[in-house]
């Protein structure tokens, strides 16, 4: 008895640019994915990855499929339904001394979404992407059959699905291994960095010493202080460093309404201010902190994306290869500042080697991510940044993207051909599709 949602509903990604569409919501993924063309998790991808190509497309919302099917405390191996949120796993398993091997900068994502986007975190230089820790997947394919795959069994499907943006099949169940942590607290050091060259050097120096690193860059600074900011490095605290009590669960506030378009995203503004604060206070700080502010500073305010107002926003994230050198990063920052439109803050991270996911985003080099309000200028800005990235041999992150042109995407990622070949094998009719796959792969609208 599957009722159809009202036809007038709109779906949006995290960037809040709406598209007409309807979600089919129920617990049983095995039954609701039959005939569906796209699955979506918690809609934390910024652009159109999780949006339907057409309003009438059957889109499955996985978030009610939130069961843990097996957990072995001896090995940390866990099998879950794809709709379970990372926040739920953190809440249940952190107190028992386990944590996801990889976490993105928000915990409000589903495990299925983490596989489909092959997410990376602050530990990418050590642990690679989430996909590197996945052992087994159960999927529903475009022809409606069910299949199980592992790195060795239907390995092509397995690695195509990791980072495959849901285009090879619906992920129903995932098995991966949780890592043990030495305590539920994080030991963190932060360091003020004066410009982009210093930043790259500092990231490089921190990488072998710290399992987790990343930085915030002040995008407004120019000239000799261009790219100044704060480098953060951390590791799980040793039992003797950890505070005696468990970290308190995060207090969550919700941004209750949309802010007017001219208002600055209050969160970036907040972090921005603290950046200045740090500038004045200390060159080097050490602390034992709760994992919440360390991993998820933006989760403290639910629905902060309303801060950008009704115009919506996007994020531009690219990775520039190590071979392109620090000059490329410097030139990119310069271009970013020149083009305008960027929020005052961006996130920088040095990535480790490329993973095995056919379309997986990270490659060895420097990743830069910056939020941008949608304006009439946005297409021009994204085009210019993309042209730079193509020339530098880098690529963009599909889960953040909404404006990249098909020819640009093709030019920056030669792996597209292998991916399309996989689609030819597993979905020759290209039944599975999203608004993004129409835009970037030329699927039928």
């Amino acid at each position: 008895m599957q009722k159809l949602p009202p036809p007038e509903s709109m779906l949006t990604g995290w960037g809040r640019l709406p598209m007409p569409g309807r979600e089919i919501l129920a617990e049983n993924l095995e039954s609701i994915t039959r005939g569906a063309v796209l699955s979506r998790g918690l809609g934390r991808s910024y652009g159109d990855s999780s949006l339907p190509a057409q309003a009438s497309d059957r889109v499955v919302a996985t978030r009610l499929a939130n069961r843990i099917l097996a957990f072995d405390p001896k090995t940390g191996v866990i099998r879950v339904e794809a709709g379970i949120a990372l926040a739920e796993l953190n809440r249940l398993f952190m107190p028992q001394g386990f944590f996801s091997p990889v976490t993105p900068g928000t915990k409000f994502v589903t495990i299925g979404g983490m596989v489909a986007c092959d997410v990376h975190g602050k530990n990418h230089h050590c642990e690679g992407t989430f996909g590197a820790h996945v052992r087994w997947l159960k999927m529903r394919l475009a022809d409606d059959s069910l299949i199980e795959c592992t790195p060795t069994e239907h390995g092509d499907l397995f690695y195509g699905t990791i980072g495959g943006m849901g285009l090879l099949g619906h992920i129903l169940e995932v098995e991966f291994r949780l890592h043990t942590i030495s305590s539920p607290w994080v030991y963190m050091e932060s360091e003020r960095v004066h410009n982009i060259d210093e930043f790259l050097a500092a990231l490089g120096k921190a990488a072998p010493a710290w399992p987790m690193t990343m930085g915030w860059i002040d995008c407004l600074s120019r000239g000799s202080s261009m790219g100044r900011g704060i480098l953060m490095a951390g590791r799980w605290a040793k039992p003797e460093e950890a505070k005696a009590e468990p970290p308190r669960p995060a207090i969550q506030k919700t941004l209750p309404f949309e802010l007017p378009n001219w208002a600055l995203n209050p969160l970036t503004a907040k972090i921005f201010n603290s950046l200045y604060y740090w500038q004045h206070v200390s060159l080097h700080a050490k602390a034992v902190v709760s994992p919440e502010p360390f991993f998820y500073p933006l989760d403290a305010i639910l629905e902060w994306n309303r801060g950008y107002g009704s115009r919506g926003f996007t994020q531009y994230q690219c990775v520039l290869p190590r071979q392109a050198g620090p000059e490329a990063v410097r030139a990119f920052m310069k271009l970013l500042v020149q083009l305008g439109g960027a929020s005052p803050l961006c996130v920088i991270k040095d990535c480790g080697p490329e993973g095995k996911g056919v379309l997986s985003f990270p490659l060895e080099g420097t990743s830069i991510a910056v939020d941008m309000a949608v304006s009439p200028e946005i297409q021009r800005i994204v085009d210019s940044l993309n042209e730079f990235v193509i020339a530098a041999g880098g690529r963009i992150y599909l889960t953040k993207d909404r404006f990249t042109r098909a020819d640009h995407y093709r030019a920056m990622d030669p792996r597209v051909d292998s991916f399309l070949a996989l689609r030819e094998t597993w979905d020759p009719q290209r039944r599975l599709r999203s608004a993004q796959s129409v835009r970037l792969f030329g699927d039928k609208a």
Partner: protein
């Protein structure tokens, strides 16, 4: 708590079962679909490090002849339960029900007659061991005869009335009856409907319900805002109710 949950595989029932299991209460699942029950039992078992393996038995609200043996299974697995939660029910739109008399018969039988029969089995068992908790999901739809939920609401109205009377009659004997009246909650049951303002999430409902069970409240509106909404609706005059479509 040693809780039996009928309907714990999905929706608000799942959220309640998870909440209880996570804090270490013992749980036992009743419902339809062996595979679904097994998967939910595994989920509950994994949610607390010392949770004993969660048991389950099949119980179909359309087959009252199986109620007693299912409760026997729960009793023996839990060593005598002290709490029963019922969230299982059918839902169909008023249009669908008006178009299909057989569906109407099924729905009012499951949601009212057989739910009461199940509760009677439970009541006798609990009273025989000095009381306990009986938590049953009715609905705000039972608070006033309304156009979009005319038939479904009438069964819930009957259920609310039964639960109220059970509280009056057996509270002194140690039976704590809780009648839960959810407003609109975003579950699979309401997936086809457009959420009104104050729509709730299953997790939020579970938190409210478990708290109400702990404090032995007799009636719970959840999300809380619906108490106010229904207060207004109950006082609207008939000529208004005839006009509006709420």
């Amino acid at each position: 708590m040693k809780a039996v949950i009928l309907g714990g595989t999905s929706g608000m029932g799942r959220a309640i079962a998870q909440r209880l299991a996570e804090r270490g209460d013992s749980v036992f699942l009743l419902g339809i679909g062996e595979t679904d029950l097994t998967r939910s039992a595994a989920d509950l078992t994994a949610r607390h490090p010392t949770q004993a393996s969660v048991g389950h038995a099949e119980l179909d609200l359309e087959k009252p002849e199986g109620f007693s043996s299912a409760l026997d299974a729960a009793d023996s697995a839990l060593g005598g339960f002290d709490t029963v939660v019922v969230t299982a029910a059918l839902f169909a739109s008023q249009d669908a029900l008006e178009a299909d008399i057989e569906l109407t018969r099924r729905l009012v039988t499951v949601n009212y007659a057989n739910t009461v029969v199940f509760c009677e089995h439970v009541r006798k068992r609990l009273l025989s061991r000095g009381g306990g908790r009986l938590t049953v999901f009715s609905s705000v739809a039972g608070d006033r005869g309304r156009k979009p939920v005319a038939i479904y609401g009438s069964a819930k109205a009957g259920l609310s009335c039964y639960l109220e009377a059970m509280d009056h009659k057996y509270n002194a004997a140690g039976l704590s009856v809780l009648c839960v009246k959810p407003g609109f909650v975003k579950t699979g049951m309401t997936a086809g409907l457009k959420p009104p303002p104050f729509a709730g999430e299953p997790v939020q409902v579970a938190r409210d319900v478990v708290r109400a069970m702990d404090t032995r409240k007799p009636v719970l509106y959840t999300p809380g805002m619906w108490a106010l909404v229904m207060l207004v609706i109950r006082w609207l005059p008939r000529f208004v109710m005839r006009k509006i479509n709420f």
